[in-house]
Subunit: 449 residues, 2 copies
């Protein structure tokens, strides 16, 4: 059944005020779908439907709702009820919600929960934004050295329902230092009298609480992990990050790259939920910088103005666009290669050499097609066709070279390579292409420079 039909049936029950039946129908749905349904309702109805949900389901549904609506529900239901929901959420989901709220509201809410939970949430909220500490969860299974398999299994049976994953179990020493991990499947197979340390894998791949979430995502992706332990600066286990949260991090980081590559400041919210003013503010800085820098390109035209045969002027857009596109192709691959860890700064020589060879091929083909096009299909003579085509050839080589090296150089001076994307490169290539065009024209057509 698709979402529209589900919504239709639920709406009908809601209209008719059949609460018991509505509760029954909601019971058949996945938490994600319930959250999606709630987003279609107005404030008053949201709260009504939300209160129909069983307690454990409502915390999950809440975690899947968007921040605006969660804030509205919280405001409508009062601090005590709100805190009960936050209490039922996994710590990482609760932190994810709390960090978007105004500090005053967070303080008031935390005042309503018990000391232990409050300390915990406060600790999480103190980690740097976008760090491993902010996205980790504490709902994992840990055992101290000396625990037997039998004891461990009893403990797992007792507490498993509250854990986010029980696939991997963590073995700690008395100082809570992480010694190793045990796969649940190994525990299931083992004799009850064995100790957990006899089964553990000591080649643990972990991250620090202060590590950037991008590093966490890269590590999880590289080693194909389902979860990764997070340790503090003394190697004590404080949490784990599960792969479902990593999937969200990856999409977030990718979106940031996309936005930067299109000359925008990154934004955190979904497009439709971002205000027009915010969108405009995110877009203005780069547009402005690039607009101003494009005037230097105009200066090149002005400098050569007395030789502007209209044939040459008419080919300016084509030359500039092709150069810009070539540069963007090279820079996109370099940026993406850096993001995925496929290329490094030390590869710069190989990359440049590769790009120059690609550019030679493309240059010959495109220049030739261009030459034939001008010669056969325009009134201009062979000399003009030759000038434009030669300019095209060199523009492509320059564009590819700039496009592939700039992201690497940005990385070298610790700037984000994604900033060196098509718009910036286009502007530089524009200037180069016009300079090449007019210089060649001066030589070949014997015009005054």
């Amino acid at each position: 059944m698709d979402f529209e039909r589900i919504k239709g049936r639920l709406d009908a029950l809601l209209e008719a005020g059949k609460k018991a039946e509505l509760r029954g129908a909601l019971n058949m749905l996945n938490e994600v779908d319930i959250a999606e349904y709630l987003e279609t309702l107005d404030n008053e109805k949201v709260l009504m439907v939300f209160r129909l949900l069983p307690k454990d389901v409502s915390a999950d549904v809440f975690a899947y709702m968007d921040n605006d609506q969660r804030t509205r529900i919280m405001e409508a239901m009062g601090d005590a009820e709100a805190m009960r929901i936050i209490d039922d959420m996994f710590v990482d989901d609760a932190v994810d919600f709390l960090e978007e709220l105004p500090a005053g509201v967070v303080k008031r809410m935390l005042a309503n929960c018990d000391q232990q939970r409050r300390d915990l949430l406060n600790q999480f909220l103190r980690y740097p934004e976008n760090s491993a500490g902010r996205i980790m969860t504490i709902e994992y299974m840990e055992f101290h050295v000396g625990t037997t398999v039998g004891q461990a299994m009893t403990e797992i049976r007792r507490t498993a329902p509250d854990k986010e994953t029980i696939n991997t179990l963590y073995v700690l020493d008395d100082r809570r230092e992480l010694l190793g991990t045990v796969a649940l499947r190994k525990l299931l197979l083992a004799n009850d009298d064995l100790k957990v340390e006899d089964l553990m894998n000591t080649q643990v791949i972990s991250v620090r609480t202060t590590d950037d979430q991008e590093l966490v995502a890269d590590t999880v992706r590289k080693y194909d992990l389902l979860s990764i332990p997070v340790v503090d600066h003394e190697n004590r286990l404080v949490g784990i990050v599960t792969v479902d949260d990593i999937v969200d991090v990856i999409e977030e980081e990718n979106t940031e790259d996309f936005e930067k590559m299109a000359a925008m400041l990154p934004s955190d919210d979904e497009y439709l939920k971002t205000s027009v003013l915010t969108l405009a503010k995110n877009r203005l800085p780069w547009l402005l910088i690039l607009m101003i820098s494009a005037t230097f390109t105009g200066m090149i035209i002005t400098h050569f103005e007395n030789m502007l045969a209209s044939a040459l002027v008419a080919c300016i857009p084509m030359l500039m666009d092709t150069g810009g596109n070539c540069g963007a192709q090279a820079s996109t691959l370099a940026i993406r290669g850096l993001a995925l860890g496929e290329i490094e700064l030390k590869d710069i020589g190989r990359i440049l050499w590769k790009e120059i060879r690609v550019a030679l091929m493309l240059g010959v083909v495109l220049a030739l097609i261009n030459f034939l096009r001008i010669w056969f299909f325009t009134p201009y003579d062979k000399d003009v066709a030759f000038v434009v085509s030669l300019a095209m050839f060199f523009t492509i080589i320059i564009a590819k070279s700039i496009g592939c090296t700039l992201p690497l150089l940005a990385k070298a001076i610790h700037l984000d390579p994604a900033l060196m994307a098509s718009p910036l490169i286009t502007t530089m290539v524009d200037a180069a292409s016009l300079f090449i065009l007019f210089t060649i024209a001066t030589q070949v057509l014997h015009l005054a420079g």
Copy 2:
């Protein structure tokens, strides 16, 4: 210890021919790191080191190596030994490797393995490229209706080491139709005499074997799943896809989008491993199409050539670039929003209205700055400044409108929205911006059109 130091120590042992010590050292490393180390060795040494690895480790290491090197190892070691490795790999990893090999080699290899395995691999290789069937694995736990918890636990203990995940167990009826799933943690808590169907969750989210991997990734991401069952057209369970493979799919699909947005045909391989000729071939088509279409922009210039005051010509690059950048910003957000399922075709009105308001804001600011710049810092008079700024204003509005609607329209006619990215939009916006510029100039400066 970082990779360079690990490599240094392993190289030293390898040079000295200390095989036993090398085996001991390798035993301390993660499979991913071993694969990374092998990639730094030449053919002869790779095979030697590879043969030092324990059998179960070597299959895992093999799965993490890149295709070139795997093919070389396979060729060096002969079909029988090669097939033993493929036998030890998870089915999805084996398929991932086999699908890149020439058909003849695949046939020869499959001839070396037993009937059952051969049939299985053949079945996987028949699924469409990039489909759920190609990336699924069959190493999951399934139980038929009527199995007791006690029987299930015995079976799990017996077979768990060969399964890719035992987190979720699948319940089938006699026709192998998927009825529901049971979380392992529920099984651990339950009484031995209960039946698996008493514990199962019947709200199963599944995909079909022929579904595109992008749909699989979207579903896993939406519902925060760790694995998803794959069923055939009669709802019979044939495999599962685990989230670690989904992470790879997401990166693959993102890279494709990036490449398309920079006007390239998508490629499957890592940048440094792609040949120069392939790179050139991927990049040529769009460059060519865009180069030719940019000549239409040139025609606009030619059409207005007798009115080409050099002031206007000099501002062409700035106008074109700003228009292109504005269009790219809008199209990037639309493409990304579509990819993440945040916006749909039916939102087109809201998006267009939003973009137009953003464009009005940006247009006023940029046009004003531009006006002041020309008036104060160039020899041209107020009229020229006015013409250029007004053209800038309308260009931004047109660019944003084109940028946000084209990806949505592409989606409507079942084209990939990512194709409507900056390069194509730049070309369209270039033509529009020049047309606007010259039209306004004709009116205001009273030049002949």
